[in-house]
C-alpha cells in the first residue's frame, strides 16, 4: 500500500502537505488551525484554476493566460452585474466570454501548429492590458445594495462554516477527476498529450480534444475569477497577477508531467494546498513573505532535479 503510494507521481505533494501540516501545526498551534478555513478558501480559488491548468498540461500544452483571464472575466462580471443583465445574466455572459477565450487559445494553437506557450503568453498581456486599460488602474467594486443577491451569495457566501468556493472546488474536483480517469474525453486528453501522432493515427480527434481542454481551462479560470469578485466585491488591476506560474508550479508539485500525457487533477489540487500552506504558514509565523518566493523556486527546481535523478521512481504510473 505504502510502496504503491510512493510510486505514484502525487507522492511528493502528499508527503510535503502532511509534513507542512505537522510543522506549522506544532509550531504555530491555534492560529494555524483557526486559519484553516481561510487557507482552504485560498486553495479553492487557485485550485479551480489549477484543475484547468493540469488538464491543459496533460493534453501536452500550457496556458499562461489563466491569471489574466481570471482578472479580465471577473472585471467583466463586476461591470455587467450593475447593468440591466443582473447578476445571473452577468454570470452567463462572463462564462460565455471565458469559453470563447479558451476556444481562441486552442484554435490558434491547433490550427496554426503554434506553441501554446507563446499563444497564451500573448494573451496574458492582452487580457491584463485590457483590465488595466478599462479600469484605468482603479479598483472597481460591486455596489453594497447588490451584495445580498442570490447569485452573488451562492458564489461568494458560506455554507457550514466554509466559503462556498471550497464546496464548488470540491465538486469540480470530483467531476473532473472522474472525467479524466473514467471517460473517453479523459482518455483522449492523455493520448493527445502523450503521443499526438498515435492519437491521430487511431482516429482520436486531437484538435477537438485540445480545443475543448483549453475551453475548460479558461472557463474554470473565469469561474474562479467570478467567485473571487462575488466574495470580495471588488477587482483591481493586480488581481491574480502571476497566478499562471503558481498554477503551473502547483501542477508540477502535484505530479503532472510537464511533457504531457500523465498526471491527475487531484494531484494538482494537492500541489495547490502544499504551496498555499507554505505561504500561509510563513505569513502566520511572522517570516518575511518574500521568503515564500525563494522557497517556492527552490522546491520547484529541487523537484525537477529529483525527477531527473530518480527516473525509475517517476516513470511508473
Amino acid at each position: 500500500m505504502l510502496a504503491k503510494l510512493l510510486q505514484r507521481p502525487e507522492a511528493a505533494a502528499v508527503f510535503s502537505l502532511i509534513g507542512l501540516q505537522i510543522v506549522f501545526g506544532t509550531w504555530l498551534g491555534a492560529p494555524w488551525t483557526d486559519n484553516l478555513p481561510g487557507l482552504l478558501r485560498d486553495v479553492s480559488w487557485l485550485g479551480i484554476v489549477a484543475i484547468g491548468q493540469a488538464m491543459v498540461i496533460i493534453s501536452g500544452e500550457f496556458d499562461l493566460s489563466v491569471g489574466s483571464v481570471y482578472a479580465f472575466v471577473s472585471m467583466v462580471f463586476v461591470m455587467l452585474v450593475q447593468t440591466s443583465l443582473g447578476p445571473l445574466g452577468a454570470f452567463i455572459v462572463a462564462m460565455a466570454i471565458s469559453a470563447t477565450i479558451g476556444w481562441l487559445n486552442g484554435w490558434l494553437t491547433w490550427r496554426f501548429k503554434l506553441p501554446s506557450l507563446l499563444v497564451t503568453l500573448g494573451f496574458l498581456f492582452v487580457y491584463r492590458g485590457l483590465v488595466e486599460y478599462v479600469t484605468d488602474g482603479k479598483t472597481i467594486t460591486i455596489p453594497n445594495e447588490m451584495r445580498s443577491d442570490l447569485v452573488l451569495s451562492v458564489l461568494g457566501g458560506r455554507f457550514l462554516g466554509m466559503h462556498n468556493s471550497v464546496w464548488i472546488c470540491a465538486a469540480l474536483l470530483a467531476v473532473f477527476s472522474g472525467a479524466m480517469a473514467k471517460t473517453q474525453y479523459g482518455s483522449h486528453v492523455q493520448a493527445v498529450g502523450g503521443d499526438v501522432n498515435a492519437a491521430l493515427t487511431t482516429g482520436v480527434p486531437a484538435g477537438r480534444v485540445k480545443i475543448r481542454t483549453f475551453m475548460a481551462c479558461s472557463m474554470l479560470s473565469g469561474l474562479a475569477g467570478i467567485i473571487t469578485a462575488a466574495t470580495l466585491s471588488s477587482v483591481s488591476t493586480t488581481t491574480a497577477t502571476s497566478m499562471e506560474f503558481e498554477a503551473i508550479a502547483a501542477t508540477v508539485i502535484g505530479g503532472v508531467s510537464l511533457l504531457g500525457g500523465a498526471g491527475t487533477v487531484w494531484g494538482a489540487i494537492l500541489g495547490v494546498f502544499t504551496l498555499l500552506a507554505l505561504k500561509n504558514g510563513l505569513i502566520l509565523g511572522g517570516i518575511n513573505i518574500f521568503v515564500y518566493q525563494i522557497l517556492l523556486g527552490t522546491v520547484l527546481v529541487g523537484l525537477v532535479a529529483l525527477k531527473g535523478a530518480l527516473p525509475q521512481q517517476f516513470a511508473r504510473r
Binding site: K182, S187, D195
Partner: protein, 260 residues
C-alpha cells in the same frame, strides 16, 4: 480462391519523380507475402497507397476482385486493410487496453457521459492478444513498460480485432533485439495459421522473410525486379536481389579493401 488484395500496374509519381513504375502484386488469405527492397525501393509509397494515404497516378487496386479507390485511411480500414506502422501508433504512457481501444472505445451507462467500460475493454484486449502471442496478463500495464515484441503483438491484435483481413506490417522486426524479432515472427505465423488473414510483410531482412513468407516480391527503384515462391527461392541468394543486382562478392571485396 481469389486474392483478398490485388494490385495491377500501380504507378505513383511526385512531379517528375516516379516512386512506383507499374508494380503488380497479390496476396491470398492465410498467406504471408514478403515485400523486400532497399531504402527508396518504393515500399513505403506502395503501403501508403494501400492504406489510403496516397492516391495512385495509374493502375488499380482490387479488394475481393472489385476495383476500389481509397481517398482516406478510413476508406482503406473500412475495406479491411489494416496497416501496422513502424511507430505502432501506441501512446506509451497509457495502459494496454486503453491503447487497444484508442479512438474506438467501449462505453457503459448513458452514452452522452462517455464513461468507458474498462472491464470489458481489458478482457477483450487480453483475449485478442493471447490468440496471437503471450504479451501480458495485466491490461492496465503502461504500454511503455512492455517489450518491443509485446507492443507489436498489441498493434497487430488491435488491427485484427477491428476488422483487418489484410495486414500490412511495415518493418515489424527492424527496431528490435534478436529475441524480440523471433517473438514477432512467431506472432506472424500464428496470424497466418488462422487462415483467413492475408499478410503483407515488409522487411529488408531476408532471413526473416525466408522464415515466414510463402511468396516474395523484390522491389528496386519502383519496379519489381524479382518474385517467387518459397520453393523457387530455395537456395537462391536473396541478398543478391536485395542489393539490386550488385554482386555480393564485389561488395565484400570492396569492404575488405577499405578495412585493409
Amino acid at each position: 480462391m481469389q486474392p483478398v488484395v490485388e494490385i495491377r500496374n500501380l504507378a505513383k509519381s511526385f512531379g517528375p519523380f516516379s516512386a512506383l513504375k507499374g508494380v503488380s502484386l497479390d496476396v491470398y488469405p492465410g498467406e504471408v507475402h514478403a515485400l523486400l527492397g532497399d531504402n527508396g525501393a518504393g515500399k513505403s509509397t506502395l503501403i501508403k497507397i494501400l492504406s489510403g494515404i496516397f492516391q495512385p497516378t495509374a493502375g488499380e487496386v482490387l479488394v475481393d476482385g472489385t476495383p476500389v479507390q481509397f481517398t482516406s485511411p478510413r476508406d482503406a480500414a473500412a475495406a479491411g486493410i489494416g496497416t501496422v506502422y513502424q511507430d505502432l501508433a501506441l501512446a506509451s504512457l497509457m495502459p494496454v487496453s486503453r491503447n487497444f481501444f484508442l479512438g474506438r472505445e467501449l462505453f457503459k451507462g448513458p452514452r452522452f457521459l462517455g464513461i468507458l467500460d474498462d472491464r470489458r475493454m481489458d478482457a477483450i484486449a487480453l483475449a485478442e492478444m493471447h490468440k496471437i502471442g503471450n504479451p501480458t496478463k495485466n491490461a492496465r500495464q503502461a504500454v511503455g513498460t512492455m517489450s518491443g515484441g509485446q507492443r507489436q503483438t498489441l498493434a497487430i491484435a488491435r488491427a485484427i480485432h477491428f476488422g483487418a483481413r489484410v495486414l500490412i506490417l511495415d518493418e515489424p522486426t527492424s527496431a528490435l533485439g534478436q529475441k524480440q524479432q523471433m517473438e514477432v515472427l512467431k506472432t506472424i505465423m500464428r496470424v497466418r495459421a488462422r487462415g483467413d488473414i492475408a499478410i503483407i510483410f515488409i522487411t529488408h531482412n531476408e532471413v526473416h522473410a525466408k522464415l515466414v513468407a510463402d511468396r516474395f516480391t523484390f522491389l528496386a527503384l519502383g519496379e519489381v525486379i524479382g518474385r517467387g515462391t518459397k520453393a523457387d527461392l530455395e537456395g537462391e541468394d536473396i541478398r543478391h536481389l536485395m542489393a539490386g543486382g550488385a554482386e555480393m562478392a564485389d561488395l565484400m571485396k570492396e569492404i575488405r579493401s577499405i578495412a585493409a
